[in-house]
């Protein structure tokens, strides 16, 4: 190997490489499949692989010679208007993609028009970006009006009017997205006069920024660049008058559905799915590196049913959401440069819905429009959603069954089935469906009804039981008193009883915690055996908690969590507490031996078993409407445990109140240090091994 060899490194994202062989092998099985993968996420964010919801149907606009087209508008009749930005014109194509008319406005030429909208009366509104104006053409293409920067006192002097996209509502009011317009959409009245700003994004403040604000001086803060909201990239209107906006990126609320007052109906949601890693089980966000870039949401469209489709230019993801902003499905595929593929836009710049539910995606690199149509699977989902809204539960159930017949993994369908089962008062079935859908609320609704029915059916029995219990409560104590001390016990049993009694100390401790812990330290009541026994019992209680807690409070299917993942964190934290408490105590005039702390900490976990197990049992009889009871009991259990730990420290170490609190804080701090250290040591070691491996590779190459 020549020493002067220059090797260019190519760094490839982990996920990307993980794809390698998976894709390679999947290829033969993927015969007769579209060139993209469709997924959805269920309620808990798990990835579900689906058959395509849309199939590539056509490639339009080839003869128009489009150059870097930036916008697409589909008129109700199917005619397509394309903002042919690179050629400074607007082109109208018919539904089959044949050029019908070219609008280049000879008396006032357009410059880089990047937005187009056609009103119901046929007037064409063009965002003439290069000329910083809005042009209105009549249906024949004659210049009807043009609006420059509105003249208004309310508009800041620094405001730059560079319109990129626009929409016109029924009243004739214009909503304009401008480049860098962080104030939101510009709303103009039909005469082009400033009416106001609409739907501005909020500033997204990072944690670091909050810290800065707290720490920096006034002067420093002023010198920092002012944080501005993200500007709105694009917009769409629907038949009900809602305005939809899409912004590049921003963590959440990238897509907004705004009513006439500018209130966001889809607050708090996050949009724009990340390409999934087909090899793994992770969902969105698990494999951002697959496309090597962050999201860049450039356009959205609303179809007749109110479903919204968003395109991501960087990651080639098309995501579709229902009327409530919930993800329906998303798909992505990539095409190599130089090898474009049917159905995959290389550089999507705009998207529009056609009159027959087709999606039209404008590709500004190829200068073409990709047409996609819903598959039978896609249609069946729309149908089921529509029927569910219409309130016809029988039909909705049939439609969801139809969806499941095509894909049994589509868990949102089980949600639909659970709803219709509840409506049809088939609660047992509803419980099953709710569990499959992973929906705690639906489970809870159905279970509430079942519980009610059970109470109604067994009312007399319950009443009898209550009476019986009351009688027993009165009658039993005298009997027990009479029996006491008369049972003959052999010496072997006596020894065994002694052992039990030591464990029985646990119950004494619960009633008299301070005395109990003191006894552990000074009367030799505790032993490692007893402590280990208690630890095992606690582990069992934790396992039960994860496995048997009622579905309403723990909506996770059986077998989805592993025992190890429940117990390992507990044991690690517990053990580090014991070690750190001992270390802190030993440098802080503490009197406890290691054994005392070990045993004491085991005893202090008692409430998890004593109170936890009944809570688990109870949770199976409760619904979400009694959530308060469940959370109160759980909180009480935790408080009790914390108190025991407090008393444990105080009694074992023989501390005052202040010393105890300090000791606990120090212990927690020591734990933090311990964990940081461990992470660093492990991290560095693996980095070092990596480094050696890299050298080895380099050398042996």
């Amino acid at each position: 190997m020549g020493s002067g060899t220059i090797l260019r490194r190519r760094r490839i994202g982990a996920a990307l490489l993980a794809l390698t062989v998976a894709l390679l092998l999947g290829a033969s099985a993927a015969a007769a499949a579209v060139p993209y993968q469709t997924y959805t996420l269920d309620q808990r964010g798990r990835l579900i692989h689906l058959q395509p919801a849309y199939y590539p149907d056509g490639l339009l606009g080839g003869d128009a010679g489009l150059s870097k087209p930036q916008d697409l508008f589909v008129a109700p009749g199917g005619d397509m208007y394309v903002a042919d930005t690179g050629n400074n014109r607007i082109v109208r194509l018919d539904a089959a993609g044949r050029t019908q008319q070219v609008y280049d406005v000879p008396d006032s030429p357009l410059s880089q028009p990047s937005g187009v909208f056609v009103a119901e009366d046929g007037r064409i509104y063009v965002a003439d970006t290069g000329n910083r104006r809005i042009v209105v053409l009549d249906a024949a293409g004659k210049l009807a009006a043009q609006f420059g920067r509105p003249d208004s006192r309310l508009l800041p002097a620094s405001y730059v009017f560079e319109p990129t996209h626009l929409a016109v509502d029924r009243r004739g009011f214009l909503f304009v997205a401008t480049r860098g317009g962080y104030q939101g959409l510009l709303e103009l009245d039909p005469e082009g006069q400033f009416h106001g700003f609409f739907g501005a994004n909020r500033v997204q403040v990072s944690l670091m920024e909050l810290v800065r604000r707290a720490v920096y001086t006034e002067e420093q803060l002023q010198r920092r660049e002012k944080l501005l909201p993200v500007s709105i990239q694009n917009l769409a209107l629907d038949a009900q008058g809602f305005v939809y906006t899409v912004s590049h990126d921003g963590g959440s609320e990238q897509v907004k559905k705004l009513n006439i007052r500018g209130d966001n109906q889809w607050g708090g949601r996050s949009f724009g799915e990340a390409p999934a890693d087909p090899g793994g089980k992770k969902g969105a966000g698990g494999a951002d590196s697959a496309a090597g870039a962050g999201a860049n949401l450039v356009d959205l469209t609303v179809d007749h049913g109110g479903n919204v489709t968003v395109i991501d230019r960087n990651r080639h993801v098309v995501s579709q959401y229902d009327t409530s902003g919930r993800l329906l499905f998303y798909w992505f595929g990539t095409a190599d440069v130089g090898n474009p593929r049917f159905g995959v836009a290389q550089s999507p710049s705009a998207i529009a819905s056609g009159p027959n539910d087709e999606l039209l995606i404008l590709d500004d690199q190829l200068g073409l429009i990709q047409r996609l149509k819903p598959t039978a699977f896609g249609r069946s989902i729309y149908e089921a959603i529509a029927l569910g809204k219409g309130g016809s539960y029988d039909e909705s159930e049939r439609a969801w069954q139809n969806v499941l017949q095509m894909n049994a993994h589509f868990t949102p369908a089980y949600e639909g089935l659970a709803k219709s089962s509840i409506q049809k008062e088939q609660y047992g079935q509803a419980v099953d469906y709710a569990k499959l859908a992973g929906s705690a609320s639906l489970y809870s609704d159905a279970f509430w009804q079942i519980r009610l029915q059970w109470f109604q059916a067994h009312f007399s029995l319950i009443a009898d039981m209550v009476i019986l219990l009351a009688i027993l409560a009165f009658a039993l104590p005298p009997v027990r008193r009479r029996l006491k001390g008369r049972l003959p016990i052999s010496s072997g049993w006596r020894a065994r009883l002694e052992g039990w009694r030591r464990r029985g100390h646990a119950f004494y401790l619960l009633r008299h915690p301070i005395d109990g812990f003191t006894a552990l330290r000074y009367e030799g009541k505790g032993s490692y055996a007893a402590a280990l026994g208690l630890l095992v019992v606690t582990c069992v209680a934790l396992a039960l908690r994860s496995y048997y807690t009622g579905f309403a409070f723990h909506p996770v299917g059986r077998g989805e969590t592993e025992l190890g993942s429940v117990l390992a964190p507990f044991l690690c934290i517990w053990l580090s507490w014991v070690v750190c408490q001992y270390l802190i105590g030993s440098i802080n005039r503490g009197e406890a031996r290691f054994k005392d702390i070990f045993v004491g900490s085991a005893y202090a976990m008692l409430p998890v078993t004593v109170a936890g197990v009944p809570i688990i049992l109870l949770s199976n009889a409760l619904t979400l409407s009694e959530h308060a009871i469940f959370s109160f009991l759980t909180t009480a259990m935790i408080v009790w445990t914390v108190l025991l730990f407090y008393w444990k420290v105080q009694s074992l170490q023989n501390y005052s109140v202040g010393e105890t609190l300090l000791s606990i804080l120090l212990t927690l701090f020591a734990m933090l240090l311990l964990w940081t250290l461990l992470f660093i040591v492990f991290g560095l070691t693996s980095e070092y091994l990596q480094f050696l491996y890299a050298i080895y590779r380099e050398v042996t190459m």
Partner: protein, 781 residues
């Protein structure tokens, strides 16, 4: 020892360790260098022979290669005459009956210098194009050039039996590429010979060091028969590429979308290379190239070319007019050095691509079958290729069968399910339930079936390796024998799915990934990961040693055989583990050996999506593609593969209940003459949710599918029962979205994908439906 001393001791130890590491690194560096020098020594002696000096390449400095009267006739057969120009290395083949000829250079009639780059003008006139690596500069990039631009020469021209031999010399680069061209019957064959091939590693530059250039790939006579698009004169023309079932790139004067080259590796990507194409996400959802063929049709002339030697090292390359040049052309690009991914960390997330030093050896040959008139269509090409395979005994005509069309019933046994403490097993179809399914289907009117049991292995569907015995939960070996007897009593064959044989994730089975797994060229173990199923690809040596036992155990179950999948008939990977690396060519030979053994020891063998090299050993091919890879460069998908296979090997379309669009899939299956196939479980589809490895199996519940299965089956049976042993002799589009398939027994099948009825001459086909016309009677669904 005090604490201080102890600390010092530790410090010393750490320092010593660091020194050791540093020392060993230096040592390795040194050894590597020494090894390099040693290796260079003997090579220097062996390659000391000077390049033969040849006559300078005489091509006019501009304009096309035109056949002159002065060309030497090299050979003649009853049908063809081969003439050659020894000065340029170009040749011309003339069909003596029609007088029409094929030139190894682009058609001079269409030559136009307009818009042609100097580089491409030289490419078009050269008999071969090469790519090489500047070894001392960059090992990760190649330089593309041709004989003319590289100031090459021709040397050692001589006539040989049936043709001529010529050496193409690149003195500046130190390459010598020996080529023979010969004719035989209706075919012309071009061959790059291993004997005498010299390149940088076997050759010395003037200063005694190995020449810096290494040959990466060769395209020999890439513009054989190349034509410009001439739609004006009404002549049809297209390139045939083996994308999915077969794809056409039409001759168009104006293409809507500018594409680059069509360039795809034959038999898919090599997992041992981790190649660039494999890593790019676009490799997903591709139908790999299953057949080593390409073709060209222009007017009444056509050729179909089969890559014979070295197909496993070839890419099919095709370019329509407008891409680089005004010519439409297709060729094989033979790789001589693989580009591979070298990871530099254990997670394989970082690394680089680099060319290997070791040259891939062996002859490379392409045989062009020349066709004309009626045979000059894609169905004619497929027929000629089928004939070639039958002549070589690679395909055989299947015996006539009076029985109804078989329904391919894939049963899903069971899979692992995640558990709280230990993982469980979820059974989907026991052997008892399998009997019930078969019985019920029969009572519903399905009189012929071919059954494959999937997920039968102990441990379930997502367990690979050590499949025997059959899962106890499904009935164990005894249950499987029962089921086999039950099926055989009805004359239905029963196969076991062997798709997991080349993968392994079994614990405590004697398989150790680091020792027995497939090694990539970058010395990592090749992992397999798909939807919760993780495994290691099995190395060829382990594969060979464990294979015999598998066959015996299969036979002991009384079943008819295995269905082979990845690693046996598809998925061709070299293996750089062990003492001697297994090249892709050797891996192919090994796969053939294993399949031969299976074919002779089992009653039958099926192949899941098998590539052409697996066809001689398969009685049935499942999952034949109905669709291509959706490249915009490919204008049309045609059933080339199906025309080759029909009447020779039975084949099925992908499962109907896994199709993206079952209705179109059904029509396409009928158009392509494929048998219907379903994957079914006795348990409700909902049970799939609980399994670990069946996330991509959408819906299988028998109760929900039985009626649909029978309806679909009846449609297929109505269309295809009568043509099971016939070959397809014609296929064409008769109208927009209406296709006609013609069989050699006179049966014609029309399929209408449009929504409106089609009426043309003697037939009427309803929208989204099909019609059949046999010798006398006609059937409609």
């Amino acid at each position: 020892m005090t604490g201080k001393q102890r600390r010092r001791g530790r410090l010393l130890k750490a320092a010593a360790a660091a020194l050791t590491v540093l020392g060993s690194v230096l040592l390795v560096l040194h050894l590597r260098h020494a090894a390099y020098d040693d290796a260079a020594g003997p090579a220097a002696v062996a390659a000391a022979t000077p390049l033969p000096s040849g006559a300078p390449l005489s091509l006019r400095s501009d304009g096309p290669v035109a056949p002159d009267a002065g060309w030497t006739v090299a050979a003649e057969t009853a049908r063809l005459r081969l003439a050659v120009d020894p000065h340029s290395g170009h040749f011309q083949v003339t069909d003596k009956r029609s007088g029409r000829s094929w030139l190894s250079a682009p058609d001079p009639g269409g030559w136009s210098a307009d818009g042609l780059s100097p580089q491409w003008a030289a490419n078009l006139r050269s008999p071969l194009m090469i790519r090489y690596v500047e070894w001392s500069l960059r090992k990760d990039q190649t330089v593309e050039t041709n004989l003319l631009s590289a100031q090459g020469e021709v040397g050692d021209f001589r006539l040989v039996d049936g043709g001529f031999h010529i050496d193409f010399l690149f003195p500046r680069l130190g390459f010598s590429i020996p080529v023979t061209v010969s004719i035989e019957d209706d075919a012309v064959q071009t061959r790059i010979e291993e004997q005498g091939l010299l390149d940088g590693s076997s050759n010395l530059a003037a200063d005694g060091r190995p020449a810096p250039a290494r040959l990466a790939s060769v395209r020999l006579y890439p513009f054989f028969g190349a034509q410009v698009s001439a739609e004006a004169n009404g002549e049809e023309g297209y390139l045939l590429v083996p994308d999915g079932p077969g794809g056409l790139i039409r001759f168009k004067t104006k293409r809507e979308v500018k594409s680059g080259l069509y360039s795809q590796p034959i038999y898919g990507e090599d997992a041992a290379l981790g190649s660039a194409a494999a890593v790019s996400a676009a490799a997903a959802d591709r139908s790999p190239v299953a057949m080593p063929v390409f073709g060209l049709k222009s007017g009444s002339l056509a050729y179909v070319a089969e890559i014979q030697d070295g197909a496993e090292y070839a890419n099919i390359v095709a370019a329509p007019s407008g891409t680089y040049s005004p010519y439409n052309w297709a060729a094989a690009e033979f790789l001589y050095r693989p580009k591979y991914y070298q990871p530099t960390n254990t997670q394989k997330t970082e690394g680089y691509y680099v060319y290997g030093d070791q040259r891939l050896t062996g002859d490379r040959s392409v045989r062009y079958y020349l066709l004309q008139d009626a045979a000059a269509t894609y169905s004619g090409m497929a027929a000629r290729y089928r004939q070639a395979l039958r002549d070589r005994q690679s395909l055989h005509a299947i015996a006539a069968d009076e029985r109804p069309l078989p329904l391919n019933l894939n049963l899903l046994g069971g899979d692992r399910e995640n558990g709280f403490i230990v993982d469980g097993y979820r059974k989907l179809t026991t052997t008892e339930q399998a009997k019930r399914i078969v019985g019920e289907l029969q009572s519903m009117g399905v009189q012929n079936m071919s059954i494959v049991y999937k997920g039968w292995q102990n441990g379930g569907f997502s367990k690979y390796g050590n499949p025997f015995p059959v899962s106890d939960e499904l009935g164990g070996d005894e249950g499987m024998r029962d089921l086999a007897a039950y099926a055989h009593a009805r004359d239905f064959p029963l196969y076991l799915d062997g798709g997991m044989l080349a993968l392994n994730n079994a614990k405590r089975s004697g398989f150790r990934a680091s020792r027995d797994g497939l090694r990539t060229m970058g010395s990592t173990v090749a992992d397999y990961s798909e939807q919760g199923r993780d495994a290691t690809i099995v190395g060829m040596n382990y594969m060979r040693s464990s294979f015999g036992g598998l066959l015996n155990k299969t036979n002991a179950l009384g079943v008819d055989g295995l269905r082979f999948g990845y690693g046996l008939g598809t998925g061709l990977n070299s293996d750089y583990g062990g003492s001697a690396p297994v090249t892709r060519q050797q891996a192919l030979a090994m796969q053939r050996d294993l399949l031969t053994a299976a074919h002779s020891e089992l009653d039958g063998a099926q192949s899941d999506g098998g590539y052409a090299y697996a066809w001689p050993y398969a009685d049935f091919v499942a999952d034949t593609p109905l669709d291509g890879s959706y490249d915009l460069i490919v204008d049309e998908t045609v059933p080339f593969m199906q025309i080759v296979l029909h009447g020779s090997i039975r084949y099925a379309a992908p499962d109907m209940n896994a199709m993206d669009d079952p209705e179109t899939g059904m029509l396409k299956g009928i158009e392509y003459g494929a048998e219907p196939s379903f994957t079914i479980s006795y348990a409700d589809s909902r049970e799939l949710l609980r399994t670990v490895g069946l996330k991509e199996v959408y819906s299988t519940g028998f109760a929900a599918w039985s009626n649909e299965m029978v309806v679909q089956y009846q449609r297929y049976n109505a269309a295809l029962a009568g043509v099971q042993s016939s070959t397809i002799v014609g296929h064409r589009s008769v109208a927009d979205r209406v296709y006609e398939t013609v069989y050699d027994n006179g049966t014609r099948i029309w399929v209408n994908y449009g929504d409106t009825d089609y009426r043309g001459g003697e037939i009427a086909v309803a929208g989204r439906s099909f019609a059949v016309k046999g010798g006398t009677d006609s059937v409609s669904p």
